[in-house]
């Protein structure tokens, strides 16, 4: 029974809970047990809120029993990335500077999940302030990839994706600034979606790079991701960049995709994302996915987006610049850590000592790069030029979408690398985000869906699907059709 419950999809669990076949308390307890059993090895969670989860589950069970109409994912458990504030529940963003902080308010995403009856199991591990591609930058220790515990689960949202792969939760929330949902999805064999920028509220999402940060759904199936997408998306007056437009019909599109017909769909293969630096097993998995899309009726051709070669450098100027400004709020005065306040030191000294003690090396590196890129004398050469590259990337997307409905590429150039392998080489680490960054810079939606396992190392590979702004449903349709054609590729044994 427990085994069935942790293997089930969110859609299946919701149907069983709402029909009274099982209770949400049973489903929630099965997942809490799974976490207790496996998280010593995986370390996906920073905080498990068993009491809060079971209380929410009981509320849903009572509503079902009373014959009330409940929302589509009511009673289904979820793992929440520790970047979203949760009232009265610890929120650390993977940083010592917020250790022990209990937020006085819920993020909009948190609020929407609670209102939809979703059961929040706890908060998942992440690279500190979402800066990283391996979850090794967490101040609380790395998360291990359930497929191979010596390997990284991707980052920054490695905890959320590892929780899905380890069957600790059927649903999770991530945030994607340069690939932090999609790259962990790819290397753990799970689905991860970065919606159109502005599609999901940033209120209560602890900011890294505000013009790029976007929360999105993570799951083991495309339909589950779509169901979660519709719970968290929508206009929010608390976010000044929230889009005031209807939520794209992603659930309907995912269901439509399951009929397996992509006749006439024009798919562009981005030529910049292949060749040198791409692991052969990843390239072969991608080619197999292209063949399957063709069999489903899609028309496939190459498309060149030359500016994408400059996306990585542009990103590593824009994101640090915005982070150097955003993280100025951690000033040791109003919340969080305070170090060295012995009555003799000035505010500025306490601030500097606190930030030195509270931030890890990658956060410090990025703050200093951003400070440099924004300083007079360097602004035009660095930040200014990066903003121009952003224009070119947006134009390349627009041109490509004149001829294609969606674009595809591998999600990440390699499968999961070993923990520690790239820890002392920031540029090697940054390259994990090579294929995912353009969509962040352009604000367009993109997702990663598993394309099976690499034939050389048996590790998961991700297929990235990109669509024009507000056309999120297009990629769900393609992903659902592909997923059905691809079939099962097994799961990790823990």
């Amino acid at each position: 029974m427990t085994n069935d419950l942790i293997h089930a999809t969110a859609a299946e669990l919701a149907a069983k809970i709402h029909s009274g076949e099982v209770t949400s308390v049973e489903v929630t307890q099965a997942h809490l047990d799974r976490i207790a059993e496996t998280d010593g090895k995986v370390h996906a969670f920073l905080h498990v809120d068993a009491q809060g989860a079971l209380a929410q589950a009981r509320r849903v069970d009572e509503a079902v029993k009373a014959g009330e109409q409940v929302s589509p994912l009511a009673g289904v458990p979820l793992a929440l990335k520790d970047v979203m504030t949760t009232e009265g529940v610890p929120t650390t963003v993977g940083s010592k500077i917020l250790e022990g902080w209990l937020p006085p308010y819920d993020a909009t995403v948190t609020r929407k999940l609670k209102e939809a009856g979703v059961v929040i199991l706890g908060k998942t591990n992440m690279d500190e302030f979402a800066m990283g591609s391996s979850t090794e930058n967490s101040a609380y220790g790395p998360t291990h990839n359930p497929w191979d515990l010596d390997r990284i689960p991707g980052g920054s949202g490695g905890g959320s994706s590892a929780a899905l792969a380890a069957l600790q939760a059927p649903l999770a929330i991530g945030t994607d600034t340069g690939g932090s949902i999609r790259q962990p999805g790819a290397v753990t064999g799970t689905v991860g979606v970065k919606p159109t920028y502005g599609g999901v509220s940033r209120y209560g999402l602890v900011a890294f790079s505000s013009s790029l940060d976007q929360a999105g759904p993570c799951a083991r199936t495309v339909l589950d991701a779509a169901l979660l997408h519709e719970v968290i998306a929508g206009y929010d007056h608390m976010d000044s960049t929230s889009i005031n437009a209807p939520v794209p019909p992603v659930v309907a599109a995912a269901r439509e995709g399951l009929n397996g017909d992509l006749s006439g769909l024009r798919v562009g293969v981005v030529t910049q994302f292949s060749g040198e630096g791409y692991q052969p097993g990843v390239a072969r998995s991608f080619e197999a996915a292209v063949s399957q899309l063709k069999e489903l009726g899609a028309e496939i051709a190459d498309v060149s987006c030359p500016s994408f070669d400059y996306a990585l450098p542009a990103y590593y100027l824009i994101a640090p610049s915005e982070c150097s400004s955003n993280l100025a709020r951690f000033d040791a005065m109003r919340y969080g850590l305070r170090v060295g306040d012995d009555g003799t030191r000035s505010t500025e000294e306490v601030m500097s000592l606190t930030r030195e003690a509270g931030f890890g090396p990658e956060v410090k590196r990025r703050i200093m790069i951003g400070t440099y890129a924004l300083s007079s004398g360097y602004y035009d050469a660095y930040y200014g030029s990066a903003q121009k590259v952003r224009t070119l990337i947006t134009q390349d997307f627009a041109k490509a979408f004149e001829n294609f409905d969606v674009l595809i590429s591998p999600t990440t150039p390699t499968t999961a690398f070993k923990i520690g392998e790239r820890a002392n080489d920031p540029m090697a680490m940054y390259k994990a985000d090579l294929c995912t960054i353009p969509a962040n810079l352009a604000g367009t939606p993109a997702m990663s869906v598993p394309s099976g396992l690499s034939d050389e190392d048996g590790l998961p590979v991700g297929l990235q699907i990109m669509a024009p702004a507000l056309q999120d449903h297009r990629m769900y349709r393609v992903a659902a059709a592909y997923e059905a054609a691809r079939g099962s590729f097994g799961g990790p044994s823990l």
Binding site: Y310, P313, D341, M368, I369, Y372, G384, K388, L441
Partner: protein, 99 residues
């Protein structure tokens, strides 16, 4: 492209309010140099005629009625304060730093 010196990193750290250690200065000076050299390629294609994009979504100012909405109370706002006194944030001295 000019390389970044240890002294420049020390200056950046001061601007960013990071009391970095001597060891960190050595580490970061090398790493920041490599990173900045790698990202400088943006200048290769960023010609004068290209307008910059600061944001993916065109932003315009949004006006609304000035209506009072519920917000955090004083107790909630102070709940995470390292130190509070008389319903206010208590901070280290901010005056006389030049003395």
């Amino acid at each position: 492209m000019p390389s970044i010196s240890r002294d420049e990193v020390a200056h950046l750290a001061k601007l960013a309010r990071l009391a970095v250690s001597e060891d960190e200065l050595d580490l970061f000076a090398g790493q920041l140099d490599v990173i900045l050299q790698s990202v400088a390629s943006v200048g290769d294609i960023a010609t004068a005629d290209i307008p910059p994009t600061s944001h993916a979504v065109p932003l315009t100012n949004v006006f609304r009625e000035d209506v009072v909405r519920p917000s955090l109370g004083q107790q909630q706002a102070l709940s995470g304060a390292p130190e509070a006194e008389d319903g206010r944030f208590r901070v280290p001295r901010i005056l006389g730093e030049e003395a």
